[in-house]
C-alpha cells in the first residue's frame, strides 16, 4: 500500500537519526596516569567534618584533613596532627578533681609545628578553642557532642600546645579523633548565628576554599551526586603524594560500578564503600587477571539479636543450641570463600583487647539436640520439635530485605536449624522499616540479623548495659535491643572505662567477652570483610578494617 515517496521519506528519516547517533559516538577520553579515579557507592551529604557522620564523607575527608589522633592499620592509637600521645608516663596526662569533686583528667597535646591550613594559615590552638566552643553550642548542629561536653575547659599553653580538662576519667583519654578541627579564621564569621551554622558553613557554601583543608590533597571541585576532584595541597607538610589528582566518583549501582571499572572509567573500587564480598567474588572470577583483590575483615560484626523477653529464647539452653546448630564455618567457606571469619563474640581478634580464651560454640548438631531436649523441646512430630504442651518450636528470623548476602545466610541457617528440628520462618523488611521501627522499638518477636559497626577497643555500653534497653518510658533510646540485663556485665562495663592499669583492665576486657559468650544476648555470626579491587599498578593502599579508612595514608599510594 505504501508508495515510493513514503518509503523514501522513511529511509532518509531513519538514516538521519542514525547519523545523529553515530556522530556522537567517539572514543572516550581516558584519565592520565597522574590521576587516580576511585569509584565509591555513596556521595557525601555534606562536607563539614562535625555535622553528621557518614562513611563517604570520612573517606573523602581523609585525603584532605588530618585528625589529631587515629588508629593506624595495626589498630594502634597514633598521633597524626599531634607530636606525641599523652600518657601518665610522659607527664601529658594528669589526674585531677573537677569543680564538683569528681575524678577528672587533664591531657596536654602539641600540634605539629609545621601544620598549616591550605591557605598557609598556621593551625593553632585558636582553631582548637573555636571547634570546642562550636561543639558545645546546643544549636550548632554538631552530631556527637559528648566529647565537647566532657571537656570543661581548655588551657592555652602556647600557639601549638593546649591542655584539655575532662570531667570524666576514662582509660581512653588519649584518643580525641572526635575533635575535628575547624579553621577559626574562616568559620568564626559563619558561626555568628549558631542555628544557621550548618547551612552557612564554608564547607557547604565554599567547599573548594583551600583554607578549609590541610591534608595531602585539597578539594578542588564538587559536583553534587557525581564526583569530587582532589588536587595536591601545595601547603601539605608531609610526604608528597604520587598522584597529581584524585577523582572520587559516586556510582551507586554495583553492576554499573564494575562495568565502569572494566571500561577504564574508574581505576579502583574502594573497599570501604564498594561491593559486598559475594559481589566481589563473582567479579573476581571474571577479572582475576586484570585486578588485585584484597579482602579485609574488620569491625563490622554480623550477628543475630535474640529477643530475651520471649520465654522460649530467654532459656540460655535454647540460645546455645541455636549457635551449636549453625555451621558458621561452612557459611563462611561456602558463601564467602573464607573471607569473613567466624565471630565468637563482638570483639574482633585483631583488636588488642581480644580474649583468645573466650568460650566458643563449635558446630555440633548432637550437642544442639541434647540442649533442646533438656530445654523441654523433645517431642518430634514431622521433623519439628514440640514441648510437653504440644507447642511447636517455631521461630522467626528477620533481616533487611534486598540484602542478598544476609538473605543467603538466612536461608542456610533455616536449613541448618531444620536439621535439629527447629522450624525457622523468614520475614524481611526494607532497611528503613526494619531499623526505623522493628529493631529500634523491639517489635521483633524472636530474632533479627544485622551488623554493628564499632571502633577498636570499643566499650559496648549502649548495646549491653541494662539501662540501654529501649522502652516507651525512655522514648526508645538505647541500643540494647535484645533486652539484656546482667548486673555483673553492668559492673564490668563501668569498671573497664575507669580502671586503667594494664593487668586489671585486661582482665575486665576478658571478663566482658567471657560473659557475652556465656550469656549470648546475641548469636555471633562473622566479621564482615571489605573487598578492595585495585589495578595491578596501584601500590601502597593499606586496608585498615576499622573506621579510619585507608585514604588516611593516601600519600603512600603510588603507581608502579
Amino acid at each position: 500500500m505504501a508508495d515510493k515517496p513514503i518509503r523514501n521519506f522513511l529511509r532518509y528519516w531513519l538514516g538521519a537519526i542514525a547519523l545523529v547517533c553515530g556522530l556522537a559516538i567517539a572514543p572516550p577520553a581516558f584519565a592520565a596516569k597522574d590521576t587516580l579515579v576511585i569509584g565509591i557507592s555513596q556521595f557525601p551529604r555534606n562536607f563539614n567534618p562535625n555535622i553528621e557522620s557518614m562513611l563517604a564523607k570520612s573517606y573523602v575527608l581523609a585525603m584532605a584533613r588530618r585528625q589529631i589522633t587515629i588508629y593506624d592499620p595495626n589498630w594502634k592509637l597514633i598521633c597524626l596532627l599531634c607530636t606525641e600521645l599523652p600518657t601518665y608516663k610522659n607527664g601529658r596526662a594528669k589526674n585531677e578533681k573537677t569543680a564538683d569533686g569528681k575524678d577528672g583528667i587533664a591531657v596536654t597535646y602539641s600540634l605539629l609545628p609545621q601544620a598549616v591550613w591550605g591557605d598557609g594559615t598556621p593551625i593553632t590552638v585558636k582553631d582548637v578553642l573555636f571547634t570546642w566552643q562550636a561543639g558545645r553550642h546546643k544549636q550548632s548542629g554538631f552530631g556527637n557532642s559528648e566529647l565537647f561536653e566532657r571537656i570543661t575547659s581548655i588551657d592555652v599553653i602556647d600557639d601549638k600546645t593546649f591542655t584539655l580538662h575532662v570531667n570524666k576519667r576514662t582509660c581512653d583519654f588519649a584518643g580525641i579523633s572526635g575533635l575535628e578541627l575547624l579553621p577559626a579564621h574562616i568559620e568564626e564569621a559563619n558561626f555568628a548565628e549558631p542555628v544557621e551554622y550548618r547551612k552557612r558553613s564554608a564547607y557547604e557554601t565554599d567547599t573548594t576554599n583551600p583554607g578549609l583543608w590541610y591534608g595531602p590533597y585539597r578539594i578542588a571541585e564538587v559536583v553534587s551526586g557525581s564526583h569530587i576532584v582532589l588536587e595536591r595541597n601545595p601547603k601539605w607538610w608531609g610526604q608528597k603524594p604520587a598522584f597529581k589528582r584524585i577523582i572520587v566518583k559516586a556510582i551507586e549501582n554495583t553492576a554499573a560500578l564494575t562495568a565502569n571499572l572494566l571500561s577504564g572509567d574508574i581505576d579502583y573500587i574502594a573497599g570501604e564503600l564498594g561491593m559486598t564480598v559475594d559481589q566481589a567474588l563473582a567479579f573476581e572470577k571474571r577479572a582475576k587477571d586484570k585486578f588485585d583483590f584484597e579482602y579485609k575483615s574488620g569491625l563490622i560484626y554480623e550477628h543475630i539479636d535474640v529477643n530475651l523477653d520471649n520465654p522460649v529464647l530467654a532459656d540460655i539452653r535454647m540460645r546455645r543450641a541455636l549457635l551449636h546448630a549453625i555451621d558458621r564455618n561452612a557459611i563462611n567457606q561456602q558463601l564467602f570463600a573464607g573471607h569473613q571469619p567466624v565471630a565468637h563474640g563482638q570483639t574482633n581478634p585483631l583488636d588488642t583487647v581480644y580474649n583468645p580464651d573466650t568460650p566458643k560454640y563449635a558446630y555440633d548438631p548432637k550437642q544442639a539436640k541434647a540442649l533442646l531436649d533438656a530445654a523441654g523441646w523433645s517431642v518430634i512430630k514431622q521433623g519439628i520439635r514440640h514441648n510437653a504442651k504440644g507447642e511447636r518450636l517455631q521461630l522467626e528470623l528477620m533481616t533487611t530485605a534486598g540484602n542478598k548476602s544476609r538473605e543467603l545466610v538466612q536461608q542456610v541457617i533455616q536449613s541448618q536449624l531444620k536439621q535439629v528440628g527447629i522450624d525457622l520462618r523468614l520475614r524481611n523488611e526494607p532497611a528503613r522499616v526494619f531499623f526505623g521501627d522493628t529493631v529500634s522499638q523491639r517489635k521483633f518477636p524472636d530474632m533479627v540479623m544485622y551488623a554493628w559497626v564499632s571502633a577498636p577497643q570499643n566499650i559496648p555500653r549502649t548495646t549491653l548495659y541494662s539501662t540501654q534497653v529501649p522502652t516507651p518510658e525512655n522514648n526508645w533510646s538505647g541500643q540494647n535491643y535484645p533486652g539484656y540485663r546482667n548486673p555483673v556485665m553492668d559492673k564490668v562495663l563501668d569498671d573497664v572505662e575507669t580502671v586503667c592499669e594494664d593487668a586489671p583492665q585486661k582482665k575486665l576486657w576478658h571478663d566482658m567477652q567471657r560473659l557475652y559468650a556465656e550469656d549470648l544476648p546475641a548469636l555471633p555470626l562473622y566479621f564482615r570483610a571489605n573487598p578492595f579491587i585495585m589495578p595491578k599498578w596501584l601500590k601502597g593502599v593499606t586496608p585498615t578494617g576499622h573506621q579510619f579508612t585507608s585514604p588516611n595514608w593516601v600519600e603512600t599510594w603510588t603507581a608502579e
Binding site: W13, E204, S226, A256, V433, G436, S477, Q479
Partner: protein
C-alpha cells in the same frame, strides 16, 4: 476561554495543595526520621544528641505543624534546605532539572521521530512480514527491563567496544557539547528503546483505525495518492491518541527516569526525588514531586489545546460550557 483557563488554574491549585499534603504526610508516616537515620550511621551518637538534633531540625513537632510551617514558607518563596545535599532546595533542583530535560527531551524527540514513521509504515502494511518485525521490536523494547538494557549497553559499547563512556554526564575537567553528547548517547538509547515500542504501537493502532474511516475511503476513491491520504487526511486524526499518551508522560519527563539515571550516574530529577524520599529529605522530595505534578497538569492542559488544533470538532468553549 478565560473562564476555562481560570477554572483549570483553580483546579490545579487545589490538586497541588492536596498532593503536597499527601506527600508530606506519607513521608512523615514512614518509620524513622532523618535523625534516626543519622543514629544508625553513627554508633557514637547518644540519645541526648538525637533529642537535641530532633529539636534543632524541628522534628519533635507534630507533622501537621511542620507541614503548615513549610507551606507558609513556601508561599513566601522559601522552599527550605535540602538535608541530602546541604544546599537550598531550589539550587539543587535548578542543577538537576536541566539535566533531566536534556536527557528525557532528546529521548522523547528521538522516540517520536522513530515511532511515528514506523507506526505509520506498519499501519499501511498490517500483518505483513515487516509489520510483524516492527511489532516484535516494539514488544522487545517494552518488555526488556530498563536495568538490564542499560547494563547490556554499557557492556557492549563501553566495556567490549570501548566506544562510549560507561556513565557520568561529562569527562571530569573536559567541557564542550561533543563530550556531553558522548555521555548522553547510552542513557538516551536506553530510554528511547524503552519508549519507542509503546509509541509505535499507539501510532500503528490509531492509524489503522483512522485508515478504515469513510472519509479516507472516499479520498482514495477520488484517486488521491497514499502519501497525500496519510499526510493530509489521516495523520492529524491518528495523532490524537498519541497526544494523550505524550501529555500523560509529560510529568515523568521532568520527574526523571530513576533506573536509567542510577545506572548511568546521570544527575537527574528521578534519582534526586527517590533519594530525597528514602533519606527523609522532606523539602526536596516535596518540591521535586510538586514540579512533576505542575508539569503533568500543564501537559494535560496543553493536550487539551492540542486536541482543538488536531480536531476542529473539539472546542474549548463547549468543554467550558459543559461545566
Amino acid at each position: 476561554m478565560f473562564r476555562y483557563i481560570a477554572g483549570r488554574l483553580l483546579e490545579s491549585i487545589v490538586v497541588l495543595l492536596v498532593v503536597s499534603f499527601a506527600v508530606y504526610g506519607l513521608i512523615g508516616l514512614m518509620p524513622g526520621d532523618p535523625i534516626d537515620l543519622m543514629v544508625q550511621g553513627d554508633p557514637n551518637l547518644t540519645p541526648e544528641d538525637a533529642k537535641r538534633l530532633k529539636a534543632l531540625y524541628g522534628l519533635d513537632q507534630p507533622i501537621i505543624d511542620r507541614y503548615l510551617a513549610w507551606l507558609g514558607n513556601a508561599a513566601q518563596g522559601d522552599f527550605g534546605y535540602s538535608r541530602n545535599h546541604g544546599q537550598p532546595v531550589l539550587d539543587v533542583i535548578g542543577s538537576r532539572i536541566g539535566n533531566t530535560i536534556f536527557l528525557l527531551g532528546i529521548s522523547l524527540i528521538l522516540s517520536l521521530a522513530i515511532a511515528i514513521p514506523i507506526g505509520i509504515y506498519a499501519a499501511l502494511r498490517p500483518y505483513s512480514p515487516l509489520d510483524y518485525a516492527i511489532n516484535m521490536f516494539c514488544f522487545a523494547g517494552i518488555s526488556i527491563p530498563p536495568f538490564w538494557l542499560a547494563l547490556l549497553l554499557i557492556i557492549l559499547f563501553s566495556v567490549t567496544l570501548g566506544w562510549l563512556p560507561a556513565g557520568g554526564m561529562a569527562t571530569v575537567g573536559a567541557s564542550g557539547l561533543l563530550d556531553r553528547l558522548e555521555h548522553a548517547v547510552l542513557p538516551v538509547a536506553a530510554l528511547t528503546i524503552a519508549s519507542v515500542g509503546s509509541f509505535t504501537r499507539f501510532m500503528r493502532a490509531s492509524m489503522i483505525q483512522t485508515l478504515r474511516q469513510d472519509y479516507i475511503r472516499t479520498a482514495r476513491a477520488k484517486g488521491v495518492s497514499t502519501t497525500r491520504v496519510v499526510t493530509h487526511h489521516a495523520l492529524q486524526n491518528a495523532l490524537i491518541p498519541l497526544v494523550t499518551v505524550i501529555a500523560l508522560s509529560f510529568g515523568t519527563l521532568f520527574s526523571g527516569a530513576l533506573i536509567t539515571e542510577t545506572m548511568f550516574s546521570w544527575l537527574g530529577m528521578g534519582k534526586m526525588i527517590y533519594d530525597a524520599i528514602l533519606g527523609n529529605d522532606y523539602n526536596l522530595a516535596l518540591v521535586g514531586l510538586m514540579i512533576a505534578t505542575v508539569l503533568t497538569l500543564a501537559g494535560n492542559f496543553l493536550a487539551d489545546i492540542g486536541y482543538v488544533w488536531l480536531d476542529p470538532r473539539v472546542t474549548i468553549a463547549s468543554r467550558a460550557d459543559k461545566r
